[in-house]
């Protein structure tokens, strides 16, 4: 069920982000979602991409350090309280959220929220029980 996310190590300096996105674009890889965490010196660029294999190949060729992680994707309707509901489910079940980011789907009436948790299967089960639609890879590819 989980979504495969690509995380790339970047130097925290002018042009680093530009460089990675250019590398991916040149290989015909579309970036569906992107988030950055950074310290003073370096950053982690996290992405959901259209073609993971092509992205990995081009990053390797360009000597980038990356890792692929499975994350949970959940569709959250664009209504007040919908996101709060997701967070409540996590906290009530003591699920620690490492990071979260979101992106819009094609329909614009819901967002796809990416959650990084320790136990993907459990989180997905709880979200579905809570009435949320868990997004899988094929769904992302159709967005």
């Amino acid at each position: 069920m989980a979504i495969k996310q690509l995380a790339v190590f970047v130097e925290n300096k002018h042009g680093s982000l530009d460089e990675i996105t250019k590398i991916l674009a040149n290989a015909g890889v579309d970036i569906r979602a992107l988030s950055i965490s950074e310290t003073q010196d370096f950053g982690i660029l996290r992405m959901i991409v259209s073609d993971l294999e092509a992205a990995k190949a081009t990053l390797k060729e360009n000597q980038c350090v990356y890792t692929v992680t499975e994350v949970v994707g959940v569709s959250v309707p664009d209504t007040p309280g919908a996101m709060a509901g997701v967070i409540r489910i996590l906290s009530e079940n003591n699920i620690n959220l490492e990071y979260v980011y979101a992106f819009l789907g094609a329909s614009h009436d819901s967002a796809c929220v990416i959650l990084r948790v320790a136990d993907n299967a459990l989180t997905e089960k709880l979200l579905e029980e809570g009435g949320y639609h868990v997004v899988s890879d094929p769904f992302i590819e159709k967005l």
Binding site: A7, F9, E11, F42, I44, Q63, C64, V65, T67, Y99
Partner: protein, 434 residues
């Protein structure tokens, strides 16, 4: 079955080795006194005559030789034979200061080939091997040294010299090299290039690597072995003494056997000049016993190491010196604490990073600061910032317990630290200490 190039001497008893050394030392001292003004003057100054030196126990009475002496007598002042008997010259650029030049007679080259042949046999190479030499050929002794040894054992030599790393990899693969000779940092570089070119180490035929000319750690040995799929061995030498092959690593991968029939090793306290007992760490000092063109007495190598005696499991009886821990001139004194780059390297590799690093020492407001730049690796990377900063903190703490002060650890992208085809530049010291 262990194979020896010159079994009789390589497995001789301590008494036999000492007897050879006593005899050859006396001859050497007589020869330098008679033929080299520099030594005659230095010995006369302290009232020592060649007849005062009767055995290796008298060696400590002789004055040390320093790199500066070689510079002062540049170019040929330390040569002990007429130039017509010198058949080869080599030079050391000396990363700092004026170059020095050394000479070899035909017999010197003969000895050199033999000691390098001992090295090759000790790592299991013989006439069936393809010896790929990626040390630079030229005035630097690296290339020609092992070349001579490989020729002596009848191996097939591939004299690639250094540089053009993609081509090195292609040759390793296509020519089916079995033994690789280069600096350890270049071996790392070749290994990374292999990965980058998408060639698996199993496509190579390498079985052994002979790496030297710069200090490196056992942790780095492991990385090189993993990258290239070979067993990595040490070789030690320096231009002033002979070139590579002064000491040679054996199958035990634990220290290097000193060719004691040609060189005497001493370990001294670098500050007092006092000879230290076996097992104690100090500066390594060499005296040549058979060199004709360029004999040298008690040469201060500035390499820091330990010497031990006793039979090695490989059967060789020559004294063993440890991998040099560093050089007295590489030693960083950071707020009064002595640190070698190799110690920092050990910590980095233990924490999952590579031996690609750079140490930048500076002085800010009269306090020493250290920054260690280290390249991120696939192994050390994770998508979690919490985990990544935790790992960075562990590294930081390990550094702190080693250095006694906080070092700034900077993680940089792979291959952003400049690679070297010869000796790596590990340290940039920006302090103005004059």
């Amino acid at each position: 079955m262990e194979k020896y190039w010159q079994k009789e001497i390589e497995t001789a008893s301590r008494d036999e080795i000492v007897a050879i050394q006593n005899k050859r030392l006396k001859e050497t001292v007589r020869r330098v006194y008679d033929n080299v003004e520099h030594y005659r003057k230095k010995m006369d100054e302290i009232g020592i005559k060649p007849e005062d030196i009767n055995s290796i126990d008298d060696l400590h009475k002789l004055p040390f030789s320093y790199k500066q002496d070689l510079r002062d007598t540049y170019p040929y002042g330390m040569f002990a034979v007429p130039m017509k008997d010198v058949v080869r010259l080599h030079a050391s650029s000396g990363t700092t200061g004026k170059q020095i030049v050394v000479g070899y007679t035909k017999n010197d080259l003969d000895v050199w080939a033999d000691i390098c042949a001992r090295q090759l046999y000790a790592v299991g190479a013989d006439e069936n091997d393809m010896v790929h030499v990626s040390y630079g050929y030229g005035l630097f002794t690296g290339g020609f040294g092992l070349h001579g040894g490989a020729e002596r054992i009848g191996a097939t030599i591939i004299p690639v010299s250094s540089g053009n790393t993609n081509r090195q990899v292609t040759i390793l693969k296509d020519f089916r090299s079995t033994v690789l000779c280069c600096t350890p940092s270049y071996a790392m570089f070749i290994g990374e290039t292999l990965k980058q070119m998408g060639i698996d180490k199993s496509e190579l035929c390498l079985k052994a690597g002979i790496f030297g000319a710069e200090p490196w750690t056992d942790e780095m040995r492991q990385q090189i072995e993993d990258l290239l799929g070979l067993k990595a061995y040490d070789i030690y030498g320096l231009t002033e003494i002979m070139g590579p092959g002064v000491s040679y690593g054996c199958n035990m991968q634990d220290g290097m056997h000193v060719n004691e029939d040609h060189f005497i090793i001493e370990v001294i306290d670098p500050d007092t000049g006092e000879v230290l007992p076996d097992g104690e760490q100090g500066e390594i000092v060499f005296t040549t016993l058979t060199k004709e063109a360029f004999p040298i007495i008690r040469y201060r190598t500035r390499d820091i190491g330990v010497v031990t005696r006793g039979k090695c499991e490989c059967g060789r009886t020559f004294a063993k010196m440890s991998k040099p821990r560093g050089r007295t001139d590489d030693m960083l004194i950071i707020r009064g604490v002595n640190v070698f780059p190799s110690q920092i390297e050990t910590v980095l590799i233990r924490c999952g990073y590579t031996a690609n690093y750079q140490i930048i020492v500076d002085r800010v407001n009269n306090l020493d600061t250290v920054e260690v730049k280290v390249e991120m690796t696939d192994e050390a990377f994770t998508d979690s910032m919490a985990e990544l900063t935790k790992r960075e903190r562990t590294l930081h703490e390990e550094m702190k317990s080693l250095l006694g002060i906080s070092a700034k650890v900077t993680l940089v992208p792979p291959r952003s630290i400049e690679r070297s085809i010869g000796k790596a530049v590990r340290t940039i010291d920006k302090r103005k200490l004059i």
